[in-house]
Each structure stands twice: as structure tokens, then as C-alpha cells.
């Protein structure tokens, strides 16, 4: 898809703006619900960029899992804590500014370096539907991380139910 067509360029710029601009929305919005919807827009933008890069399966996964799953989770979180913010007074403060600035300078300078030194006209490869290729890759080369990720999900499940469970009565463990 990548190439010269005007349509493709328009699509890229549309999705790029869609992915980046909501970042400012989340940064500046006053209301947590608005932030959640800005995030939705950004994730759709990313899905579009994936499609634009020829990763069709990934684009749909992004829509299904991220927007259909994670964002709904966020909205639940927003709803359940809507009456007041969960403040992070102490995570903030000067402790974070220094690493933050270093990190930002690193990112920016890395980008500057990269952009100035790399020959940018690397040829894009031809695209084809990727579903079967991705599937067979996951089931062969990436079989080990694929199995391990089930452990990650199990840990998250156990941990989330443990942490979010109601307070226990003193003297006996929960029913």
C-alpha cells in the first residue's frame, strides 16, 4: 500500500494525525472520560497505520483487543472511580522530572541522530495477506513466548482478583 498514490498519502496523514493529536488531548483534557475517548481515537489511528503498513491482521487485532477489550476496561475503571480522581501526589514531584528530562532528551536526540544518518529510501516490501503467515510464525518460531504469555495472563488474572477483592474479616481468611 505504501507508495506514491495520493490516496495512500492522504490516508497516512489522516491516520498519523489521528494517532498523535489525541496525545495532546489526553495531556490537556480536564475530564477523565474525555481522556478515555481521546485514547480511543489514538488507538484507531494506530490501527489505521498498521493497515497502511500492510499488517492487516494486526490492524484488526488492534481494533478487537485494544479498542474492544482494553479500552472498555479503561471505561469501567473510569466509571468505577468516577466520583473522584485517584491522585498520585507522591509519584510526582522532582524525583520524576530529572529522569523524565533525561529520557526525553534521549528520545529526541536518538530520533535526531537516526533521522539525520539513515538513508531513508529503503524499499518497502510487497504486501500480501498476513493472517496465515503470522499464525504459522506464532506456532513455530514463537511457540515459547506464546506459551509463556499464557502464564502472564494467569498472573494478571490472579493478581487482579486478589488485589481488587473486598476487605477480609480479621481472624479468618476470605470465604
Amino acid at each position: 500500500m505504501t507508495g506514491s498514490g495520493i490516496f495512500n498519502q492522504v490516508m497516512f496523514w489522516l491516520f498519523a494525525v489521528m494517532a498523535v493529536a489525541p496525545g495532546f488531548g489526553i495531556l490537556l483534557a480536564k475530564d477523565i472520560v474525555r481522556q478515555a475517548f481521546w485514547l480511543l481515537l489514538s488507538l484507531v489511528g494506530f490501527a489505521g497505520l498498521y493497515l497502511h503498513l500492510g499488517a492487516d491482521f494486526l490492524g484488526f487485532i488492534q481494533v478487537l483487543v485494544y479498542i474492544g477489550g482494553i479500552l472498555i476496561l479503561f471505561l469501567f475503571g473510569v466509571m468505577l472511580t468516577y466520583r473522584m480522581d485517584v491522585p498520585l501526589k507522591e509519584v510526582k514531584g522532582w524525583g520524576l522530572v530529572f529522569p523524565g528530562i533525561i529520557a526525553g532528551i534521549l528520545t529526541a536526540s536518538a530520533l535526531l541522530y537516526v533521522a539525520s544518518r539513515t538513508p531513508w529510501n529503503a524499499a518497502a516490501k510487497a504486501t500480501a495477506p498476513t493472517v496465515s503467515a503470522v499464525g504459522s510464525r506464532v506456532m513455530s518460531t514463537f511457540i515459547l513466548p506464546f506459551e509463556v504469555i499464557s502464564m502472564v495472563l494467569l498472573v494478571a488474572l490472579i493478581g487482579a482478583t486478589y488485589i481488587a477483592r473486598r476487605k477480609e474479616d480479621k481472624g479468618r481468611s476470605e470465604e
Binding site: T2, G23, A55, F74, P87, E90, N121, V152
Partner: protein, 144 residues
């Protein structure tokens, strides 16, 4: 303090935007003769994706540093993961031997992001429930 970091991160994002111009211009100028038939000068190339990714990454860091609501901070982390994922797919398409590895990595990243989000929201809910039972002003038991 947040003003300072805001200025800083805005400038980071603007820098990225400026780089998009410079990068595409310089790249096209330096090796236009060699690769003119592969990618037209005005076409969309790797650098465009990298710049989008870098801008989102910078914004994600800014959100993590500036916003005070835990859920908003979590959104910042999601943006970081997304920008890294975009980089993987873009490199996979333009650089790697075949275009699949990076896509698989990004699928893994999406799954891990889901696990992280579920866990973080559980922790936030726990804090919220504790907040409801006690005074909000005492929400920080730990000293910085």
C-alpha cells in the same frame, strides 16, 4: 514543576515534528538519484512512521509525568507501548528479512498491554476503595 515539564515535552514533540520535515527532505536529497524509482520523493517512507511513533512516545512520557490521575497515567503507558509497537511493524516492513517478525512482536505487546491494564486498574480500584473509607487528604502514606 509541571509547567517546566510541559514546556519540555512540548518542545520534544515540536522537535519531532520539525525532524519529520528535515528527515524526509535530507533523505530525499542525499540519495534521491539512487532510489528515485523505488520511493518517490514525496512518498510515505520509514521516517514518517518513526516520527509518528516518536511523537506519541514523547506525549506518553509527558502524560506520565504531568497528569496526576492514576488512570490518565496508565493511558500514557498505553501510548508508550503503542508507539513501540508501531516502530516494530514499520521496521519489519522496511528493514527486516521478512515482514512478519515485527508484526508478531506487536501482537505480543498488545496482549501484554491488556494484562498490564487489568492489573493496574485492579490496584487503582483498591486505592479508590481505601480512599472512600478515609480522608482524601491523607492519600499519601509514603514520603517522597
Amino acid at each position: 514543576m509541571s509547567a517546566l515539564t510541559a514546556i519540555f515535552s512540548m518542545s520534544g514533540a515540536l522537535l519531532a515534528a520539525a525532524l519529520a520535515q528535515a528527515g524526509s527532505g535530507a533523505g530525499a536529497a542525499s540519495s534521491a538519484a539512487a532510489a528515485a524509482e523505488v520511493v518517490p520523493a514525496a512518498g510515505i517512507g520509514l521516517v514518517h512512521y518513526l516520527v509518528v511513533s516518536a511523537m506519541v512516545f514523547t506525549l506518553g512520557i509527558a502524560i506520565i509525568i504531568i497528569r496526576r490521575n492514576a488512570i490518565a497515567v496508565l493511558m500514557g503507558i498505553e501510548l508508550l507501548l503503542n508507539s513501540a509497537g508501531l516502530n516494530f511493524v514499520a521496521f519489519s516492513r522496511y528493514v527486516a528479512k521478512d515482514g512478519i517478525d515485527g508484526q508478531v512482536v506487536t501482537i505480543f505487546i498488545i496482549v501484554l498491554a491488556a494484562a498490564e491494564a487489568a492489573l493496574a486498574l485492579a490496584i487503582i480500584l483498591n486505592i479508590y476503595n481505601n480512599l472512600n473509607t478515609v480522608d482524601v487528604d491523607e492519600a499519601d502514606a509514603l514520603k517522597g
